[in-house]
């Protein structure tokens, strides 16, 4: 072995040692995160692969060794046999067969562990082969280095694996590796013989630099990471399952700025109530609609404090004094706010320490000690459910809305991005109604009769630039309380009726009753949202637009004309209205029968139109298919084009050679030939500078390639270019020089 080959061999050894450590950095997190055992055995495999590359083992032999090692690993790990035996071989082969079948069938879960191990080994094998190729042929490992860094960064930030020190180790190893390879490239490019002396002379400053900068970097003060995302992987998995957002658990959450997405059931209890009747529990209202959800007004929260037993200043006035009741709440979850019944008057449990404050914007009531939020596990409240006179409600006029004081303007806020069609729809729905109350009810009943669905699972999240309400009203028509209530608030606002979005819990389930006092359990499933609208002259009033909810029983039917007495549910009323309409429709049908003959002609026309439409639809579907084909085709063409562009260095010279051979020498012009050659040279790193003359450049190229063909060709070209063109050219010589140079470029 000559001196320089010893140097080469030792440097390769060093490189592989570094590669080994970098591969270890890859294995560590994989082993730790997937709780794979036998790290040592995997490392042995890596050593085997690297070692066979270093000693340049015969291909068949090295394959056999690796293959046998994998088989032995499988036997040892999965069957516990230390030595080869026919039985265990058969077993492994069986496992292999099962796994392959499972793979073909797409049953990923049926793939056996041993097969997974085989795949992992193959992956390792291929990776090492690739690295070997990079090391010995390309003399660069930038890709490997980069992917290692990216891998570790991702692993560190997305999983629990702590790669802090691993990243530093890889950085140091990688820079060392690249430096050594650069030195190798230097020697490869030049004719200088590789000598240990030169090698060490070049490597010592490199090593010193790396050590120095590492120490410096270690000693430097470091900024703490800003974002801590320990559960990102889990989030990502959720994101993969859901369309856009994770499947939320239903329940009371404070943040409503991004509504939408499916929900899972959660029947854990939130609180228990002891009261006479089952009812809605109000927590707070929100006023600012962003197009995606609801937010509170940013900035200071104005509060009003009060004590036990004191009258609470709610915007929604309680009902009659004689109807006052008491409800007792026992919290099962640590919510530091009060569950309010409608018509809340006061909180009655004398206690000197605690006081309350109500956030004026939103009407959330919080118990506190010394201005600190506290938990009030059990409390009772007196309330009187408000009742509204139907007579008064029917007297309301839309024109009264204009006389409202300015403070109600905040309940008319709408985002500028709200599509116009929402407003148009609201107008369309309420066209026939005169008074404010009926207009509001028209919106409630609109949801019932127009194909809207209540669903907790099939709920979309608005896309970028899409409005939450618009999406629900026109596109998806499927959603839960938030969709219905938000849509109603927004539609009311477009009509100029002040409205706000209310959050809380709907009625719970009754668990027991005792002397007229019933006990109800309210669970996370009861988390709900609804609507409060301001009816001029009457005040704030609650509405339930969500399909399948009973709603509020608070309208006192005092209109004399009506036969029924007592209270009436607005929804019942709506039902009656619908019945009347049905009757009217039946009458209209009779009329229509009489006009049948006249209509016959029109029907024919309509049918024609329908057929036309159908045929249009058919062409649409076929064109859709074509679109798909064209898209796929375009993608393939793009990929091919990209590949062709990236590898143009390789194929273009050959193509040119063919092209010009095909053309024949009489049709070749030297300027095309020469300029193509210049282009190919520049692609291969030999580009002419601006101020360089052709002969200067030619000398450079000749020196690099060790010929004089470029100068010869250039002389001919220069004469062609700069003389008056009288000279004749020796085309055979031109082509000879040109072909030689093109072939040299392609290597």
């Amino acid at each position: 072995m000559s001196n320089s080959s010893i140097v080469k061999w030792t440097s390769l050894m060093g490189l592989y040692l570094i590669i080994f450590w970098m591969l270890v950095e890859w294995l560590m997190p994989i082993v730790q995160l997937t709780s794979t055992g036998h790290l040592g055995l995997f490392l042995v495999f890596i050593v085997l692969c690297l070692g066979s590359n270093i000693v340049n083992l015969n291909g068949v032999l090295s394959f056999a060794i690796k293959f046998l090692y994998i088989i032995w690993f499988l036997m040892y790990v999965y069957l516990g046999t230390k030595f080869f035996s026919v039985d265990s071989m058969m077993k492994i082969a069986g496992d292999f067969g099962i796994s392959v079948k499972a793979l073909i069938a797409g049953d990923w879960n049926d793939v056996t562990d041993s097969f997974r191990s085989i795949l992992f080994f193959v992956l390792l094998w291929m990776t090492i082969y690739l690295i070997h190729h990079w090391l010995t042929v390309k003399h660069t490992v930038v890709y490997f280095f980069l992917t290692t860094i990216i891998f570790l960064c991702l692993i560190d930030s997305l999983t629990k694996y702590n790669a802090d020190s691993a990243i530093i180790r890889v950085m140091v190893l990688g820079t060392l590796l690249m430096g050594v390879l650069f030195v190798n490239r230097l020697f490869n490019g030049s004719q200088v013989k590789l000598q240990a002396k030169h090698y060490t002379m070049l490597l010592i400053p490199l090593v010193l630099m790396i050590i120095g900068s590492s120490v410096f970097a270690f000693l430097m003060p470091k900024k703490q990471a800003i974002v801590n995302t320990p559960d990102s992987i889990a989030k990502l998995m959720d994101w993969k399952n859901g369309q856009n957002a994770g499947i939320g658990k239903i329940g009371y959450v404070e943040d409503d700025s991004k509504l939408g997405g499916p929900f899972e059931e959660d029947s854990r209890p939130v609180f228990e109530v002891a009261a006479k009747v089952n009812q809605y529990w109000r927590i707070e209202t929100k006023n600012i609609y962003t197009g995606k959800g609801w937010v509170r007004k940013p900035g200071d929260v104005y509060v009003h404090t009060f004590e036990y037993g004191e009258d609470i200043p709610m915007s929604l006035k309680p009902g009659k004094e004689k109807n006052t009741d008491v409800a007792t709440i026992t919290l099962k979850k640590d919510y530091k706010f009060i569950m309010q019944p409608y018509g809340l008057k006061s909180i009655d449990q004398p206690n000197d320490e605690k006081s309350f404050y109500i956030e004026i914007d939103g009407e959330k009531i919080r118990p506190s000690i010394n201005e600190q939020k506290v938990l009030l596990p059990k409390y009772s409240m007196s309330y009187s459910t408000p009742e509204y006179s139907l007579k008064a409600l029917e007297k309301t006029k839309m024109s009264d809305l204009r006389k409202l004081p300015k403070e109600y303007d905040q309940y008319l806020q709408l985002p500028v991005t709200l599509p116009e069609r929402v407003n148009n729809l609201a107008k369309e729905i309420t066209k026939g109604e005169k008074n404010v109350y009926d207009k509001a009810n028209a919106i409630v009943s609109y949801f019932q009769y127009n194909g809207y669905q209540y669903s907790r699972t099939d709920v979309a999240v608005p896309k970028e630039g899409q409005d939450y309400v618009d999406q629900f009203l026109f596109d998806t028509k499927s959603g839960y309380c938030d969709n219905f209530s938000t849509s109603m608030v927004v539609m009311l606002r477009t009509l100029g009726i002040p409205a706000r979005w209310v959050k809380g819990f709907s009625e719970g389930d009754e668990v027991s009753s005792d002397n007229g006092t019933h006990r109800f359990v309210v669970t996370n499933n009861n988390a709900h949202s609804w609507v409060e609208a301001y009816i001029p002259g009457v005040g704030w009033m609650s509405f339930e637009p969500t399909i399948g909810f009973d709603g509020f029983d608070n309208v006192l039917n005092d209109v004399k004309d009506e036969e029924n007495e007592g209270t009436i549910n607005p929804k019942q009323k709506e039902n009656e209205k619908a019945k009347e309409e049905k009757q009217k429709k039946a009458e209209q049908k009779k009329k229509a029968k009489q006009e049948k003959e006249q209509a016959k002609k029109e029907e024919k026309k309509k049918q024609q139109q329908l057929e036309d439409k159908q045929s249009q639809n058919e062409t649409k579907t076929t064109s859709k298919k074509w679109n798909k084909v064209i898209t796929i085709f375009a993608v393939i063409v793009l990929i091919l084009a990209a590949l062709g562009y990236l590898t143009r260095k390789k194929w273009m010279p050959k193509w040119l050679l063919l092209k010009y051979r095909f053309k024949g020498k009489n049709n070749i012009t030297i300027d095309r030939l020469y300029n193509d050659l210049l282009h190919q040279l520049s692609l291969n790193g030999l580009s002419k500078e601006e101020g360089q003359t052709l002969s200067e450049f030619a000398k450079l190229v000749d020196k690099k390639l060790g010929t004089d063909h470029m100068s010869n060709l250039t002389n001919i070209y220069e004469e062609y270019l700069y003389s008056n063109g009288a000279s004749t050219m020796d085309k055979d010589k031109i082509i000879e020089c040109w072909e030689y140079l093109i072939n040299r470029i392609t290597g």
Binding site: E719, L721, N724
Partner: protein
């Protein structure tokens, strides 16, 4: 290639006398062929005069020498009319300018008046005495030398007059080995004495005509113009190369191409000659002098930054 052989023999002849100064010899021949004049600038004792004498001897031309001194008068250069009492008429006695190859030694030591007499003669190839214009015999080639280190009692040539010289050359010191060779030759007879002419005056005239026929392609013309323009636009240049400078560069390039045995000018010729043609025509801004930047450096940068034409639009 008879032409090239002749030209080569002139250079070889000069090289017998001047050791290691081939490019100066070449450039001098270029100026001679292009019918231009040369300004040689360097310290005393590096062989400026020897150079000119060798060139004159090689061409068998009428060689004249004017040693400029502060008290030299224009008439000492161009000649004077003397009254002859015999025939009672004024006879013109031609001055030293009336030669084929004139060495104007230390041109910056004489008064501007005398300098301009010479420069006018160079420009017009004629002198005017007593209202009578007398043509100077062709070929007419002036090689002026000036000493850049002496400033006491000198009259530096104004920039506008430097324009009259086609090339400005610097001799420079010989290398170590060359200088030893110089010493060795100084031991024997001076080689200049043995020099014989290789080209006659008529042959020189033919060569000068041939230079004019060397093809300068539009591409190369464009390149010359671009270079001249670039010097004008350079940040350190107060006054760039004039159109006369561009013409000079073209003519010199033609001569150089002929010298190299080509019938067409290449950008290489232009690049090689640009520093010698342009350097003395540039007037630099004061900041360039503070930054220690010479005109040659500026021209070098201009060459690097100006793209060489390598493609014909269509033929």
């Amino acid at each position: 290639m008879e032409t090239q052989e002749k030209l080569q023999s002139i250079i070889n002849n000069i090289e017998k006398v001047m050791i290691g100064k081939k490019h100066i010899a070449e450039l001098s021949v270029v100026a001679l062929l292009a019918e231009g004049h040369v300004l040689l600038e360097d310290v005393p004792g590096v062989g400026k005069t020897m150079m000119v004498r060798a060139l004159a001897k090689s061409v068998s031309a009428n060689f004249k020498r004017i040693q400029f001194t502060p008290d030299l008068l224009p008439s000492d250069v161009i000649g004077v009319s003397i009254y002859n009492p015999k025939d009672m008429e004024f006879h013109f006695r031609p001055g030293p300018i009336m030669g084929n190859i004139v060495l104007a030694d230390e041109i910056n030591r004489t008064s501007p008046k005398t300098q301009s007499a010479l420069l006018e003669g160079m420009e017009e190839a004629a002198v005017t005495i007593d209202g009578e214009t007398i043509q100077i015999a062709k070929p007419f080639f002036v090689m002026a030398t000036q000493n850049p280190i002496e400033y006491e009692g000198t009259y530096p040539l104004p920039e506008a007059q430097l324009d009259r010289f086609l090339l400005k050359l610097k001799m420079g010191y010989p290398s170590h080995d060359d200088e030893i060779e110089v010493l060795r030759r100084a031991e024997g007879t001076r080689p200049i004495e043995t020099l014989t002419s290789v080209v006659t005056l008529d042959e020189l005239k033919v060569l000068q005509q041939e230079v004019k026929r060397v093809h300068v392609d539009e591409l190369v013309k464009g390149y010359i113009v671009e270079l001249a323009r670039a010097t004008r636009e350079h940040q350190y240049v107060y006054l760039g190369a004039s159109p006369r400078g561009s013409i000079a560069l073209m003519k010199a390039s033609q001569a150089y191409a002929l010298l190299k045995g080509r019938q067409f000018v290449t950008p290489d010729d232009v690049q090689f000659l640009a520093p010698f043609v342009f350097a003395h025509r540039l007037i630099l801004k004061p900041e360039a002098r503070y930054d220690g930047i010479t005109p040659e450096e500026i021209i070098g940068r201009v060459i690097i930054n100006t793209s060489v034409p390598i493609k014909r639009a269509s033929r």
